[in-house]
Symmetry: C2
Subunit: 245 residues, 2 copies
């Protein structure tokens, strides 16, 4: 593949361009896009024309650029997340309606928690999770539940790369993970937002490792928590069974 | 951008590769991927290595290739469909639970109906809509409702490109569209599947044109239909209000 004078390929630049957009930056000017993607402005203009002509990006009437619906279509119609989402959605809606709080579905991806789905309601406590957004493993109940139910090699690999931040936050990590496995769920108070508590239960595959987690965020010290934990564990088992069927 | 001897660019080939996957082909061998994407096999191997290293594609243990979670992440975290989905999901769940039938959300995209979300339940009638899948405008209640509530220039453009197939199916098209607008919804019997009937109501923007449609598929001649139509129209109005807020 043709490389630019700086040595990065067309695909490197394309990924950096797509990566420049996120939930806080759904549309960008060509200038700020070029800057965020670290692509020379002249290259950006040329590349954007081609990306717009393929529908991967779209241009707003005011000249701002955003992701194109064609990109969404290509990325979603055979997505590996679809089966998981479809199995989980009805149970997530039940939890969301019963508890009236944000309900999330997430997987472990590249050492982060990747949020696959989030259902929220007016009046839910603040929380930081966005669909397709990432959250830190060591600061979320979702991450800790995923880690506790990871295959040993996945856990080991994660700890090789992140032992410092992890053990700084969780000095008794192995004890904590064992407790999560004994309880069947993880809860954590306000690591990210001081006014909220997260709870997460693993969705297990047939070998007993986590495919994903289902989680809620409730107000800190809420009397909802014990009920939320039972609801999550019930939902997680039902989702596992639906996926196995 | 560097062009191959055949004159197509790297981006042309990338889009054809992503386009080779769909709901029926979520994983492909390199050979069948090269054939479906019309890319020389040697080029495909080289390109796949680079796409896998960026996480846009992923390789299964058996060597089959599928879309990578990183592509899903990039395409979804600032997707223009997110607000629409989030506004629509609670109302779609209500309809899905009350009627027990497939409930869909779709937009008009490149002269097709593009399905943004679909909720289904065990026991729902067969239907062909998949998330991020396309359906023909002239054979679906979703397409006809979208067309009836399109801006005049969009309708005109569509008819310039598709008058033959459209008028073959709908000889009294303008009469039909006027009736859909008068009723506030579209229903059609079994164009795609003879045993089902679709019903769709437009989600309008502040200027009275359709942003999207919400739809259900019920068994043909079902006594559910009148209730379904009222539920859809109620939901569509609630979704419009939620989006405007």
């Amino acid at each position: 593949m043709a490389n630019s004078p700086s040595g990065d390929s067309m695909l490197d630049r394309l990924v950096r361009i797509l990566d420049a957009f996120d939930a806080q930056n759904t549309s960008l000017s060509v200038q700020s896009l070029a800057r965020r993607a670290d692509v020379p402005r002249a290259t950006a203009y040329r590349l954007l024309d081609e990306l717009v002509s393929h529908g991967l990006l779209a241009r707003d009437p005011d000249g701002q650029v955003r992701l194109g619906l064609r990109l969404w279509e290509l990325a979603n119609r055979s997505a590996s997340t679809l089966d998981l989402r479809h199995a989980a959605l009805p149970f997530m809606e039940d939890i969301n309606q019963l508890l009236g709080q944000n309900t999330q579905l997430a997987v472990l991806h590249e050492d982060d928690v990747l949020v696959i789905e989030r259902l929220s309601r007016p009046g839910s406590v603040i929380n930081q999770a966005n669909v397709a957004g990432r959250m830190p493993v060591h600061l979320t109940s979702m991450g800790m539940a995923l880690l506790a139910y990871s295959r040993p090699d996945v856990l080991e690999g994660y700890l090789e790369r992140h032992s410092e931040t992890m053990f700084a936050q969780h000095p008794k990590l192995h004890h904590e993970l064992a407790e999560i496995r004994r309880n069947g769920y993880a809860t954590f108070d306000g690591f990210i937002d001081p006014e909220s508590t997260g709870a997460a239960a693993p969705i297990l595959d047939s070998t007993g490792y986590a495919l994903a987690v289902v989680a809620v965020v409730v107000p800190r010290a809420s009397e909802l928590l014990p009920a939320a934990v039972v609801a999550l564990q019930t939902a997680a088992r039902a989702i596992s069974r639906t996926l196995a069927a």
